[in-house]
């Protein structure tokens, strides 16, 4: 007797086959799902020979058997720990909408993807956009690549949120989307529960809103799990959308996600990605500046230790004149943690007067930590301003001695300096509860413990 172990690809195809057709799903979405899974099947998982995945070893993920995330119930009290005061909220447990934990703002149309009929108002946007961008034109025209995990998400997502901000609306309260992982207590140690959170946000013309995504696990989540999220942002002309993505999954979780943004004329997308959790983390973000005067900020912070690995892969495409983009990514790495920053700015021939700036700074707190930084510019227009730079350094010993000579104990001085390095990214938001949470997480994740530099 020989047991046949299914290939990693076959496991996921099997998940697709077992789910079968979904009733009530719009025909275009159904089609895109099938196309996505076909593309995934044809391409398979990337190997180390694949340029975009050269530095990301996904072998540990592929070694694990996967099962659909269980249907765990999460109490209001457990969820509340992660919810901010002063927000509206959409709560998802293992990728499924938990309506009883959510509060939907009146001025926004929000639908649960699993039940478009019952929940309101975003069905047309789903039919038009969902999956149309992520797998279709999400790449520089010259080298279209299938993003395997985005394709997986499109093929396999069970639920998610579609959010439509009406034209002209200025939504005052931020909307928090809480993606809660709650693996079953008795799950097999060698298998991963996998969920595919899906988000679509359409910011109407001249609208203004703020979205906070939070990826966390319920307290005491044991065993590994795998979150494979995908998010699409469609920013109509003149819209302003703020986006914060906080990822604080369990330290042995797999988190491989994809984010795609399209901006029309004079639209602004200001996004921050903060990575504290996950064992193997890959964040891909693509932004297409597709209208004159559009601006996109993609900022990020990763604070990792132990054997965590985090790879931030970005591509910003300037397709029209007078578009601007800023990226500031900072990393703090301790123990044996490793990071990759891969930022690519692609300026099309038509995109004259592009202004693009990309910076990656890394602070290594241990001899065994390792940061890779690959900023890349590809410019086909001749009248542009593009700058990029990266640094990898250690804590400034002179500064440490200076603080200690003034009486600050070593640990406190250490924490203060690391906090000072990272603070601009956690203090960026004007939404106080979020800011406090991020500050707290940053301080807690620093070896020096609470020390840091509060506002001057």
């Amino acid at each position: 007797m020989t047991a046949v172990t299914p290939t990693p690809t076959a496991q996921y195809l099997d998940l697709f086959a077992r789910r079968g057709e979904r009733s009530g799903e719009a025909a275009p979405v159904r089609l895109r799902r099938r196309q996505a899974i076909e593309r995934f099947e044809a391409a398979g998982f990337p190997g180390r020979g694949d340029e975009e995945w050269r530095q990301t070893n996904i072998a540990p993920l592929l070694r694990s058997a996967v099962t659909e995330a269980s249907r765990e119930e999460v109490g209001a009290r457990q969820a509340r720990r992660f919810l901010y005061q002063g927000c509206d909220r959409l709560v998802f447990v293992n990728g499924r909408f938990a309506v009883e934990l959510s509060s939907i703002p009146k001025e926004i149309a929000v639908s649960s993807l699993a039940d478009l009929e019952a929940t309101g108002g975003a069905a047309d946007a789903v039919a038009e956009h969902l999956g149309a961008t992520v797998d279709g034109r999400a790449s520089c025209s010259a080298d279209a690549v299938v993003h395997p995990f985005a394709a997986l998400n499109t093929g396999l997502f069970e639920d998610g949120a579609a959010i439509v901000i009406p034209a002209g609306a200025a939504v005052e309260r931020p909307l928090q989307v809480l993606w809660l992982s709650a693996p079953a207590a008795g799950a097999a140690a060698d298998s991963l529960e996998v969920s595919f959170p899906r988000l679509l946000v359409v910011a109407g013309e001249n609208s203004q809103a703020s979205i906070i995504e939070t990826f966390v696990a319920v307290n005491g989540a044991a065993g590994g799990y795998f979150v494979c999220p995908a998010a699409e942002f469609v920013c109509r002309a003149g819209s302003v959308l703020h986006h914060t993505r906080l990822q604080a999954d369990a330290s042995d979780a797999f988190h491989l996600g994809f984010q795609h943004t399209e901006l029309e004329r004079s639209a602004v997308f200001d996004s921050s990605s903060l990575t504290f959790g996950g064992g193997l983390v890959r964040n891909d973000a693509v932004a297409l500046l597709d209208g004159e005067g559009a601006h996109c900020t993609l900022d990020g912070l990763y604070v990792v230790a132990g054997s965590q690995f985090v790879d931030n892969h970005m591509r910003v495409e300037h397709r029209q004149p007078h578009t601007t983009s800023h990226q500031l990514y900072k990393g703090v790495l301790d123990d044996r943690a490793r990071s990759v920053f891969n930022g690519r700015i692609y300026v099309h021939k038509a995109a004259q007067k592009t202004d693009a700036k990309q910076t990656n700074r890394n602070l290594l707190l241990s001899r065994s930590a390792l940061a890779n930084s690959n900023p890349q510019l590809e410019i086909f227009a001749d009248d542009v301003r593009c700058t990029h730079g990266s640094t990898i350094g250690r804590l400034d010993e002179d500064a440490l001695f200076y603080l200690r000579a003034r009486g600050l104990p070593r640990e406190q001085a250490y924490g203060m300096l690391v906090y000072a390095f990272a603070r601009e990214l956690v203090e960026k938001t004007s939404f106080e509860p979020l800011r406090q949470d991020l500050e707290g997480r940053l301080r807690a994740s620093l070896n020096g413990g609470p020390g840091g530099g509060e506002a001057a």
Binding site: F401, Y402, A405, R406, R410, A456
Partner: protein, 251 residues
């Protein structure tokens, strides 16, 4: 108060201090002068506990306690203050926040009650006034973008707030124009009292016109080669270090 005996120190393989003896009593101001490379800054850094320097022989005592057993922060708690020759820029840390943390770390270490925000602010304002520091500096990150003069004044402000027993001023006069020099000297003079002592390290005699020392020592080749009263500084100004008997200048 401070007793340095037979102090030898080296950095990497190079011996820089070769038997320094220095005794400072409460209320005194000592000037340590010497040419470049004589070991002046090394002496300051060794006193403050910089780990890059290895003490190979001799002892340093502050109020009878062995400083060599203490970490830099413990020396600060014991009342030692070093005004840095090159104050370090620390982006992202607010100047007044940093000072409050320093004051309270010291108070905590001494078993005293920490100052709350109001009490600290009051202390800070009063000291800023005493040493003539613009309050705008307090709101900026520590030394970041400060001019040379602002950095040195900021050192004096820190000293005024931390109220050390013994202050070591390492070339606080370097790079200062005459107005800034007078301001810094006035700040130091305002803090002089019978319980506090100063070691003023300088290359030039000029500062000593404004901070008049009780004792002047000449450091050369890692040793104190001459000691005297404040008139020694004037002699040096006239004759230069080369005019001294013994070791050649610029070692």
């Amino acid at each position: 108060m401070l007793r340095v005996s037979g102090l030898h120190a080296r950095v990497e393989e190079q011996e820089i201090l070769r038997g320094v003896n220095l005794e400072v009593r409460a209320g005194e101001v000592h000037a340590v002068m010497g040419p470049n490379g004589s070991g002046k800054s090394t002496l300051a850094q060794v006193l403050a506990g910089r780990e890059d320097y290895e003490v190979t022989a001799g002892s340093i005592e502050l109020d009878g306690e062995d400083l060599q057993e203490m970490a830099p922060e413990e020396r600060a708690h014991a009342g030692l203050f070093l005004a840095f020759q090159y104050p370090v820029e620390i982006p992202g840390v607010g100047n007044s926040y940093f000072l409050k943390a320093a004051v309270n770390a010291t108070r905590k270490a001494r078993g005293e009650q920490e100052l709350d925000a109001m009490d600290f602010l009051q202390l800070l304002r009063q000291r800023a006034k005493l040493v003539d520091v613009d309050e705008a500096l307090l709101r900026r990150p520590v030394n970041e973008g400060f001019s040379g003069g602002e950095k040195k004044r900021n050192e004096i402000l820190q000293m005024a707030v931390l109220e050390p027993r013994l202050a070591v001023l390492d070339e606080t006069d370097s790079g200062l124009d005459i107005d800034a020099l007078k301001t810094v000297a006035a700040g130091v003079n305002a803090l002089r009292n019978g319980d506090r002592a100063f070691v003023v390290i300088t290359h030039y005699q000029r500062l000593l016109n404004y901070i008049v020392p009780d004792h002047v020592h000449v450091l050369q080749g890692g040793r104190i080669v001459r000691s005297g009263g404040s008139e020694l500084a004037h002699e040096l100004e006239e004759k230069g270090y080369a005019g001294l008997n013994g070791d050649s200048a610029g070692a």
